[in-house]
C-alpha cells in the first residue's frame, strides 16, 4: 500500500519534471509562434491584440527581409555543398591513408569546433582583409564552409568506424574501377554519415550570427537582420518568417528521419 503511494508520487514528480523541461525548451518557441499571429501593431509588439495572419502577408512586402532570407538560403546551400564535398573526401582520405603526423592532424580538427566563434570571426576578418577578399557573399561562403567542414568530417568518420573496406576490394574484384567503386559502394554506404553532416552544416550556416557579423560586408543574412532589429523589438513579420523557417526545419527532420527508417527496412 505504502509502496504503491510512493510509486505514484514518484511518477507524479517524474511527469512534473518532464513537463517543466519541455516547457523550458519550447516556451521560447511558442512565444515566437504566437507573436507571429498577434494583431498588435505598436512596439514592442508584446501585448495580445487578437489573432491575425497579416504578418505573413507582410513578409512579402518587406523587400530587405526577403532579400536577407534569400541570402541566408543561398549561403547555407552553397557552403553546405562545399563543406560536404571537402569534408567527405577528407574523412575518406584520412581513413584510408596512414601518414606521419596523422594523429596531430586529427587533433587539429577539433580546434575550429571548440574555438570561441568570436575568435574565429576575427581571424577570418583579418585573413580576408590581408588577402584582399571582398567582404560579401563570397567571404560569407568561405567562412561558413570553414566552420562546417569539421562537423562533416566527424559525421562521416563516425560512419567509417564501422566500415569494412573489404567491400571496396570486393567491388574491384568484380570488375569495378576505382571511380565506379567509390560511386557505387563507398558513397552509398557512407551516405547516412554524409547526409547527417550536411544537415548539420546546413543548420549551422542557417542560424550563424557571430562569424557572419564579422565577414558579411554589405550582405545581410536573415539572422543578422533579426539581430539588427532587436533594439526596436522583434518585428512581427520577422516572427512570421521565423515560424515558417521552423516549419521548414521540422519538415526536413521528419523527411530525413522517415527516409532513413525506410532505407533500413528496405
Amino acid at each position: 500500500m505504502k509502496r504503491n503511494t510512493r510509486a505514484a508520487a514518484g511518477r507524479g514528480v517524474g511527469i512534473l519534471y518532464c513537463t517543466l523541461i519541455y516547457l523550458f525548451l519550447f516556451l521560447p518557441i511558442t512565444v515566437v509562434v504566437s507573436n507571429s499571429f498577434n494583431a498588435s501593431t505598436s512596439k514592442p509588439y508584446l501585448t495580445w491584440k487578437g489573432f491575425t495572419l497579416a504578418w505573413y502577408g507582410r513578409i512579402f512586402e518587406n523587400g530587405p527581409l526577403l532579400e536577407s532570407f534569400g541570402n541566408t538560403i543561398l549561403l547555407a546551400v552553397i557552403s553546405t555543398l562545399l563543406a560536404t564535398v571537402v569534408g567527405t573526401l577528407a574523412a575518406v582520405g584520412m581513413y584510408r591513408y596512414k601518414f606521419r603526423g596523422k594523429s596531430a592532424i586529427d587533433a587539429l580538427l577539433y580546434i575550429p569546433v571548440v574555438i570561441p566563434e568570436i575568435v574565429l570571426g576575427i581571424s577570418l576578418l583579418t585573413l580576408f582583409a590581408n588577402v584582399r577578399i571582398q567582404r560579401g557573399m563570397i567571404s560569407l561562403i568561405l567562412a561558413h564552409t570553414t566552420f562546417s567542414i569539421p562537423y562533416v568530417i566527424f559525421n562521416v568518420r563516425a560512419r567509417l568506424d564501422g566500415y569494412d573496406s573489404s567491400i571496396e576490394e570486393a567491388s574491384m574484384d568484380l570488375g569495378a574501377g576505382r571511380l565506379q567503386t567509390f560511386l557505387h559502394i563507398t558513397l552509398p554506404v557512407l551516405a547516412p554519415g554524409i547526409g547527417g553532416g550536411a544537415l548539420l552544416a546546413f543548420t549551422l550556416s542557417l542560424d550563424d550570427v557571430i562569424v557572419s557579423y564579422f565577414t558579411n560586408g554589405q550582405t545581410m543574412t536573415f539572422p543578422l537582420k533579426v539581430w539588427a532589429s532587436i533594439k526596436s523589438g522583434v518585428a512581427p513579420d520577422v516572427n512570421a518568417l521565423s515560424t515558417l523557417i521552423l516549419l521548414g526545419t521540422i519538415a526536413l527532420v521528419v523527411l530525413t528521419q522517415s527516409g532513413i527508417v525506410k532505407k533500413k527496412r528496405g
Binding site: D164, S166, I167, E169, A170, S171, M172, D173, L174, G175, A176, G177, Q180, H184, I185, P188, V189, A191, G266
Partner: protein
C-alpha cells in the same frame, strides 16, 4: 583425371611487409585447371597474403604470378579473371541479394534481360531462390556465405579464390557447406584455390593440398600423399596424428637406413640420406607395431601403458624408456599383442624419414641475413 594444364603459376614469389617482415618466401606453386587446391597452414603463415597477391590486392615484393600463361603483375584486380570469396563475406550492405549478385554483370555492362536470367540461375544454384529481394542484414551466416559465393561466380571466373569461406559457420553448417562447395566446384568445373587452417576440411575437400609454414611452402600433394608421405617434419606433425623420433643416421644400405635414437635403433626404407645426418622419423599411429620379441633392426624397448576402445578404434599407449608416449591405433576387431615389455617396430616402408637440417639451416641463415 587429365589435369595437366597449369592455370595459375607462382614463381619465386616473395612478400615483405615494411622492409623486414618476410611473410611469403620463394613460393613456387602450379595450380592445374579445374582442380580444388587448398592452401593449408596455421594462423599467420601467409595464406591470405598469397591469395591477395593472386587476386591483385597485394603486390609481390619479388617473383611473378601468371594466370593462363600471362603475367598479371601489370593488371589491376578488376582486370584479372579471378574472383574472390572473402572471409568476412564483404557483401554490399546497401544492396539486395539480387543486386549483390548482379554487380559483376552490371560492371561488365551485360544486357538487363541476361542479368536477370543469370542471377536467378545462380541463386538457384546456391539454393537461394526466393531470397533475391532481401538485404544482407536479413540473412543468416550460411545464407550470406552463399550470396558471397554466387556473387563471385557470376562472372564465370577461371579461378575462384576462397579465403576461409566457412570460418564463421558452426560445425554442422560447415560440414554441409563443404559438401555443397565441392559439388558446385565439380559442376562448374572452375579452379578453386581454397584457404583454410582446418586440416580435416582440407583433407576432405581438396584434390591437392599445399601446406605452408611461416611463409614457406613445405609440401604440395594429394591428401593421401601428404598424409602417407609427409615431406617435412612440420607436415608430418601438422596433418593428422603422428609419432616422431629424432636421431642420427647410423648407416645406409640399398634397402634401408638405420637411425640411432635416444633409446636404441630404428630403421626405415629411404633414399638420399647421409651417414651422420640429423633426421626425424614419422610413423602414423595406425602403422605402429609392437611385439614381445625383438625385430631385426629395431631395438627400442617400451612398456604398454594402456589400451582402450574409443568407439570404432582401439587405442594403445606405449611408453619409451625416456618417458615419451607413443600412440598406436587399430580398427576395432583387429588385435594387438599382449601387454608388458615390448619392442616397437613398423614395416620398413611405413616409417617416413625426414631431413631435419635443411630447414633449420635455411631459417637460421635467413634470420642472420635479416638481422
Amino acid at each position: 583425371m587429365e589435369r595437366e594444364k597449369v592455370i595459375v603459376e607462382l614463381k619465386n614469389v616473395n612478400k615483405v611487409y615494411g622492409g623486414s617482415n618476410h611473410v611469403v618466401r620463394d613460393l613456387n606453386l602450379e595450380v592445374y585447371e579445374g582442380e580444388f587446391l587448398t592452401l593449408l597452414g596455421s594462423s599467420g603463415c601467409g595464406k591470405t597474403t598469397t591469395l591477395r597477391m593472386i587476386a591483385g590486392f597485394e603486390e609481390p615484393t619479388g617473383g611473378t604470378i601468371t594466370v593462363e600463361g600471362e603475367s598479371v603483375s601489370e593488371k589491376e584486380p578488376f582486370e584479372r579473371d579471378v574472383n574472390t570469396v572473402f572471409q568476412s563475406y564483404a557483401l554490399f550492405p546497401h544492396m539486395t541479394v539480387f543486386d549483390n549478385v548482379a554487380y559483376g554483370l552490371r560492371m561488365k555492362k551485360t544486357a538487363k534481360g541476361e542479368i536477370k536470367e543469370r542471377v536467378m540461375h545462380m541463386l538457384e544454384l546456391v539454393q537461394l531462390g526466393g531470397f533475391e529481394r532481401r538485404y544482407p542484414s536479413q540473412l543468416s551466416g550460411g545464407q550470406k556465405q552463399r550470396v558471397a559465393i554466387a556473387r563471385a561466380l557470376i562472372n564465370r571466373p577461371k579461378v575462384l579464390l576462397l579465403d576461409e569461406p566457412l570460418g564463421a559457420l558452426d560445425l554442422k553448417l560447415r560440414k554441409q557447406m563443404q559438401m555443397e562447395l565441392k559439388r558446385l566446384q565439380r559442376k562448374l568445373n572452375i579452379t578453386f584455390i581454397y584457404v583454410t587452417h582446418d586440416q580435416e576440411e582440407a583433407l576432405t575437400m581438396s584434390d591437392r593440398i599445399a601446406i605452408m609454414n611461416e611463409g614457406v611452402l613445405e609440401q604440395v600433394g594429394t591428401p593421401t600423399e601428404i598424409y602417407e608421405a609427409p615431406a617435412t617434419r612440420f607436415v608430418a606433425t601438422f596433418i593428422g596424428e603422428t609419432n616422431l623420433f629424432e636421431g642420427c643416421v647410423k648407416e645406409t644400405s640399398a634397402h634401408h637406413v638405420s637411425v640411432v635414437v635416444e633409446s636404441g635403433e630404428l630403421r626405415c626404407r629411404a633414399q638420399g640420406f647421409e651417414k651422420g645426418e640429423m633426421v626425424a622419423i614419422s610413423v602414423r599411429p595406425e602403422r605402429m607395431k609392437y611385439s614381445a620379441e625383438p625385430v631385426e633392426g629395431y631395438s627400442v624397448r617400451a612398456r604398454v601403458k594402456e589400451t582402450v576402445y574409443v568407439g570404432s578404434v582401439l587405442k594403445a599407449i606405449v611408453v619409451l624408456p625416456n618417458g615419451n608416449e607413443i600412440k598406436i591405433e587399430r580398427l576395432a576387431g583387429q588385435k594387438l599383442p599382449p601387454d608388458g615389455e615390448v619392442y616397437i617396430y613398423w614395416d620398413n616402408g611405413d616409417g617416413k624419414l625426414l631431413h631435419l637440417m635443411d630447414q633449420v639451416f635455411y631459417r637460421t641463415i635467413e634470420s642472420v641475413k635479416l638481422a
